[in-house]
Symmetry: C2
Subunit: 513 residues, 2 copies
């Protein structure tokens, strides 16, 4: 056992990380390889690991290790043993560990057990309700989850509202006021933009499709172009695309092929690769912080900003279609020029489904969910009114009404697992991506007003990645997402860059028909 | 916590099984999906699980649970609470648990740690030595492994020789005398048969190959024909084919495509499927013995007999080629009739490589390894003489001399991980398969003298499987492999059925040219 308390704490965190990554490996296998019959045993394996992890993360041994490391750290500081950078980093690691531990300790283990059970029951009930378009059958499970989450927020006893408290794990330091402030301009601008698009002549989008193996070929071409290192990354298929990190040199992403949507796997690959690049850029490859908070992603919104950057700013850009369309033409896509690919990448048609939404209407889907979950948790919106409220908001904001609850308020998995406070991260991710892109433009463009497009056009995306690797990825939980955006862009996060970007893109799309 | 000691023990075993199956899942992922860069972190995950498992399997809590269950069981027996079957099954479970535990307890934890390290160093050293054809560089690691294994046998202190003690985990109750007795006839018959084949005109085997996707298609056709249930089985690629069970309803097998050997993936699929069928037939689906010894495979030789049955007795049979060759012809194999497929399936050419050997010469590869590992462990054969001894035996028995140690005594992984006493199971598996096939023939054939072929010819392999599921698979560790063979076939295991089978097959092959 190391004599130094800091190292002893590090070893403990290391073992916790090992267990956590085993859990992620089981999840990966479940979604990419496991036959259906394996699900019940897999559930037992995962719940055993969850118990072991919870025990480790709330044990008195762990608490003592943190206290000893803190004491040792303070003694060393008094002796002036650390450089400023190192001192700040260690202090921040300790602060976050103490915060995470005290959250774990606030919770009654009985509540933790109830929540685990309610989540799995909620998920099952939701699956059935969605399949049968039967919201009523899901109501009791949802009601239980909401009560338990409220109870959890109460036990955590933070100087925050219930919804705010629950949003912290996804978006540290986010407040209700801040969400409303960030989203307010979008509530008017997005529907206006959508109206503009609607009133325009619709480009006739051709119906086409591509063989699975050809879609796979294009995805591989994309990842190779973007510098994928096969020694540390693997690709697979899963029902829902995701990205996960299973070890410091083991990154995985998945994609899926959707019949009749030949670009779906391609854009999903770009999206998940963006998530993975963020994780690959975290400061743990050559650094001691793997297993420590500073080696972990700072927020879901920042994570999403990275996936959206590669999906929307790069893969859906005009420059990318100009360069890449010939690969699509080669495998038989019905494209006469890059314009056909570009328009296919950007159909700009509002729909009822969040996951399939494009940049323009995506935000509206999030506004609706955010408002409704706040109403459920803070304003006592009766659960039975959820379908009506959902549908009327879709009518108002998107001009569409779901015909069934399955394509309405039952479409997303999140609430069925008790995830409240998660949805806003998706939209904040759009805002961050836009604001960071402006900063990148300033940084990379000397005479060039649009260095992002210039680099994409010549296949030099590594210039964009290098900037992200330097400015955005390596900080981990050193600062929260908003502080990071301010540090990098010089100004506080706002929705202005996102709105400007959307307006410009619409103009360009209309000018190119 | 259950009030019944038996159930408490069952819960403990269940959790052990969960951990063990997590280990197997990581192993599966490592061989089918993990990028190379993940190996070091994966090693740490596996060693953490090994530590947790060892702790569970040798803990005083576990010992008490067994003692309490034993006491409770004896009390219940006195009260006459069990039917005879149930009583015998419980007694056998307890006996095996006590045996396994006392083995764990005999071992000095320091030796266990040394062995774990020596295994991983041995494996690394072997990989390098094989790549560089440098046996000398591997000698120190092998020497360490042999000393540690000798030490292990001493600590286990069983009334058995060193080699016998080490062979127990693979082949319970096997003795040196018994191995020599079983193998003696093969030492003369196999070389004689090989000579006969050699003196015959060699059939001209065409060189051909098949596209990966077509090989995959044929493998799927095979598994579908053999009744694969996709809900509980999954198939993947790996560098070395294997079969594993990850949960009571989660069976996985892998195969590989070898350039220039278009039948390799097909036969590997048949082989691994045979392993999987045995596990699928163990008595745990509808029974309480999953996690208990009676729900586990009884020996490696019996396991191998099941894979060899499906690979050799079925897939390499004349009847199978007669029925299946048209699928090969359909995808472009250069076959004018079933005879071409059958001869391709049975080239009967002795080679230097065990894994690629056919039914005729396979046994010779095993005789050499068995003799040498016994000499290393019991007769102090100097390690430095291993290459010379290896080569002279290959010259004597197979008429071939390896040109390098890489294709000679460095070819197999087993010794590099300290696995001694494992090799004989492969050959005993051939003997068991032959003897069980005779019993199956008697059981299924009323008027028919060759019901196995008859059923294969009409695609009714399920008749063979049903017999195995009734007579062979469900016993688990209720009895050892030899007792099972005697129970099913009526006579003690011997090499006669295997030798008769080989002679008949050679005659048939010669008659069909």
């Amino acid at each position: 056992m190391p004599s130094c308390a800091w190292e002893r704490l590090g070893e403990y965190l290391h073992e916790t990380q090992l267990l956590g990554s085993i859990q992620s490996t089981l999840y990966w296998d479940q979604n990419t390889a496991m036959p259906k019959g394996g699900s019940s045993w897999r559930g037992e394996q995962l719940s055993l690991l969850a118990r072991l992890l919870h025990r480790r993360q709330s044990s008195s041994q762990y608490e003592s290790l943190i206290k000893e490391a803190e004491k040792e750290f303070q003694d060393s500081c008094l002796k002036g043993e650390f450089e400023l950078n190192e001192k700040e980093a260690r202090q921040r690691n300790l602060d976050l560990l103490i915060q995470d531990l005290s959250r774990q300790k606030c919770l009654d283990p009985e509540l933790v057990a109830h929540l685990a059970k309610a989540k799995s029951q909620g998920y099952e009930s939701w699956q059935e309700a969605k399949a049968n378009n039967d919201f009523k059958s899901f109501q009791p499970a949802l009601s239980t989850l909401i009560s338990l989450r409220k109870e959890q927020a109460q036990q955590l006893n933070e100087p925050r509202s219930c919804w705010e408290t629950l949003a912290q794990p996804f978006e540290p330091d986010l407040s209700l006021n801040r969400v409303q402030e960030l989203f307010a301009p979008l509530r008017t601008v997005l529907p206006e933009l959508l109206d503009k698009v609607r009133s325009l002549d619709k480009r006739k989008l051709k119906k086409w499709d591509l063989d699975e193996s050809l879609q796979e070929k294009l995805c591989n071409q994309l990842l190779n172009d973007w510098g994928r290192d096969e020694k540390i990354t693997a690709l697979a298929r899963s029902p829902h695309p995701f990205s996960t990190t299973l070890g410091p040199k083991d990154f995985r992403i998945t994609s899926r092929v959707v019949k009749g949507q030949p670009l779906s796997s391609f854009l999903a690959t770009a999206h998940e690769w963006g998530h993975s690049l963020y994780e690959q850029g975290l400061n743990f490859q050559s650094h001691q912080w793997f297993s420590w908070p500073l080696g972990q992603a700072t927020s879901m919104a920042l994570h999403e900003s990275q996936s959206l950057f590669w999906e929307n700013r790069v893969a859906r850009s005009k420059a990318f279609s100009e360069r890449f369309w010939r690969y699509f033409a080669e495998v038989g896509a019905p494209f006469d020029s890059w314009k056909d690919l570009w328009h296919s990448m950007n159909p700009l048609m509002p729909g009822l489904n969040r996951v399939e939404a494009d940049e323009l209407s995506y935000g509206l889907h999030i506004l609706i969910r955010t408002d409704l979950e706040i109403a459920l948790l803070e304003d006592d919106l009766p659960i039975s009114e959820l379908p009506i409220e959902w549908n009327s908001r879709y009518e108002n904001l998107l001009g569409l009404t779901p015909q069934t609850d399955s394509e309405g308020c039952l479409q997303d998995v999140h609430w069925s697992e008790g995830l409240f406070g998660y949805f806003p991260s998706y939209l904040i991710g759009h805002l961050i991506s836009a604001q960071l892109s402006q900063a990148m433009t300033r940084a990379l463009g000397a005479q060039d007003t649009d260095p992002i497009s210039t680099n994409i056009l010549i296949g030099n995306e590594s210039a964009l990645l290098n900037w992200l690797r330097k400015e955005v990825h390596p900080h981990g939980r050193k600062m929260n997402a908003e502080d990071l955006v301010k540090k990098v862009s010089g100004t506080s996060l706002s929705s202005d860059p996102f709105i400007s970007y959307l307006k410009e893109k619409l103009e360009m799309l209309n000018a190119t028909s």
